[in-house]
Symmetry: C2
């Protein structure tokens, strides 16, 4: 528990698709918390598509990770030493510790978890940032109405799987798009999607035709996580006054699949003639909604009404490979890295 600190740092910026050479494992002595700070050992690290953007040296909604700095990321950790009254050793907390085994953060950047409520790693998934993203997208951006049809891309991912289930719970028609027959079977059998289409089977035109069959009344809301050919298939099926919540575009990260994009004039024409609303959102702008989200979704998770699935990589040293696989859709549900053992009961 007092051993050295291991971290993954950004060794070089990717040109296009990231490679293992972008990351480097480093070892340092344990940091010491100053007044108001907390030292904790990480138990679970979250891997998320947004991290790809942080690896570039481009202006985005957040600063890039500096070269040779620890990769950013959310984590669940156990407090080892606290220099703040609000936390004590043994407390389980969540915060942005990064890709590391140990970290120091200000106490006011941490949130305490109740291990009795749900498994602690759900604070990185269904009850954390991805869950809040799904809930805000559905409620505040898409503002879905009873009887409407929603399409969710990356339908079984950490965000999509909750968006789909919440939408089904309020009686919407919900169609998923995912990569692989196993994910699609999971979407309909476990998550309750009315239908799920495997985009790996089809080009954009064929996928669009299958969407038309699955949504004979057209599409009113699109939870956009991917861009690429899924967007090309969805757009021509959107109804008057439909909305797109633009949450991610993983198919286009690293400059891939750019040939799958519709021409902008065609997209602009659809937005105009069908009075569409396309709205980008970043969950960091919406943390004030966390209490309302937790009050709504927390009990559903506790009571087993919400399914969630995790892909777990073992050990910090395997985080880079797990992240590269995530960017390629190789995970299934929430991608986690097990960094350290569970706390003693």
């Amino acid at each position: 528990m007092t051993g050295p600190r291991h971290s993954i740092v950004l060794a070089e910026r990717p040109s296009g698709t990231p490679t293992p050479a972008c990351f480097r494992l480093e070892t340092q002595p344990l940091p010491t918390p100053a007044s108001g700070e907390v030292l904790a050992r990480v138990i679970w690290l979250s891997l998320d598509p947004y991290m790809r953007g942080r690896m570039d040296d481009a202006k985005s909604y957040a600063s890039p990770v500096a070269l040779d700095a620890v990769m950013e990321g959310g984590a669940v950790a156990e407090v080892m030493t606290s220099a703040d009254d609000r936390f004590a050793p043994g407390d389980i907390v969540t915060g942005q510790f990064g890709w590391t085994t140990h970290g120091v953060l200000p106490a006011n950047a941490l949130r305490r978890l109740d291990p009795a409520l749900a498994p602690i790693q759900t604070a990185l998934g269904v009850l954390g940032m991805p869950g809040l993203t799904a809930w805000v997208g559905l409620n505040d951006i898409l503002r879905m109405q009873s009887g409407e049809t929603l399409v969710v891309s990356a339908a079984t991912g950490a965000v999509g799987s909750l968006a789909g289930q919440l939408a089904r719970a309020r009686g919407l028609n919900v169609i998923g798009v995912a990569g692989g027959a196993d994910k699609c079977a999971y979407a309909t059998d476990k998550l309750g999607y009315d239908a799920c289409l495997d985009h790996r089977d089809s080009d954009a035109a064929a996928l669009g035709a299958r969407l038309r069959d699955a949504a004979p009344n057209g599409i009113d809301g699109y939870f956009e996580n991917v861009g690429g050919k899924t967007l090309s298939a969805v757009l021509p099926n959107m109804n008057v006054n439909a909305r797109i919540a633009l949450c991610g575009m993983i198919a286009w990260y690293s400059g891939r699949n750019l040939d799958q994009a519709l021409p902008l004039p065609q997209v602009w024409r659809r937005i105009l003639t069908h009075r569409l609303r396309v709205e980008g959102f970043i969950i960091f702008d919406h943390f004030q909604r966390f209490p309302a989200f937790l009050a709504d979704v927390g009990p559903m998770v506790r009571d087993g009404q919400i399914s969630y699935r995790e892909t777990v990589a073992e050990g910090l040293e395997n985080a880079p490979a797990a992240f590269l696989k995530l960017l390629d859709g190789g995970n299934f549900g929430k991608q986690l890295v097990r960094i350290g053992p569970d706390p003693a009961p």
Copy 2:
């Protein structure tokens, strides 16, 4: 006053840019109003970019004009014969009479004008559909806030010129984009724009650099009438939480200038990272806002606080040429066609 009726019909659908061969002048006997209808002679015909869309046989927000049917269009007319209690001969009305010298419409599809309030043709411009479009775009779609910067394309057009003036009247920073030095001079000298850029001078990159100079704090709202290179110049200068009111895309009508479009992934990335809202709107959805619009803007027009400019073509037979010129930006302000003489005073 009782002579035959002349009309312009759609002779053939355009392939790309419309030509004079798309139109044909026809002569028929005067129609007779049935009970509840009104026969009127047209004084002013409005020409608007949206009419280009009606010439195609494609699903759009309204049905296409049928082949050999009279071209659609708003008009100001004088009642000749009324079979409805609400109107009497000599009344000045506005309604969708089309490209014609005389027409019959149901009384409930007409609005009576007060010639003492403003010149009657303003019912087709600053106090009509284009004016309502500007007002709704600014208030209901863009929801501009004090201190923000607005860019208006087609800045001196029927819609843009009112959008710019209303925005200036409430103290926004307003930058116009227009085609030609004369239009830009009019925009700053008469309409009160803080700056106006002539897009004919520049490619998208140069126009973008000039926009950056003109809007050093970035762009918060974009009143989009054109698409094309103006959009390519505006988008990279948009601030976090900026909005685009998508009202038209005249640069891309008839399949022109498609090479001036940004790649969709680049647009999608900007919408995501800057949390933009892009919203299409069609004024026909917003007629319930007409009374509020007229109460707000009517007095400003009556008191001379609003400038408006007209380009007038003389005679129905010149409507097609005037329309083709409008699509190419050859008009200046509201494009009208004088169909018949003013009413006797």
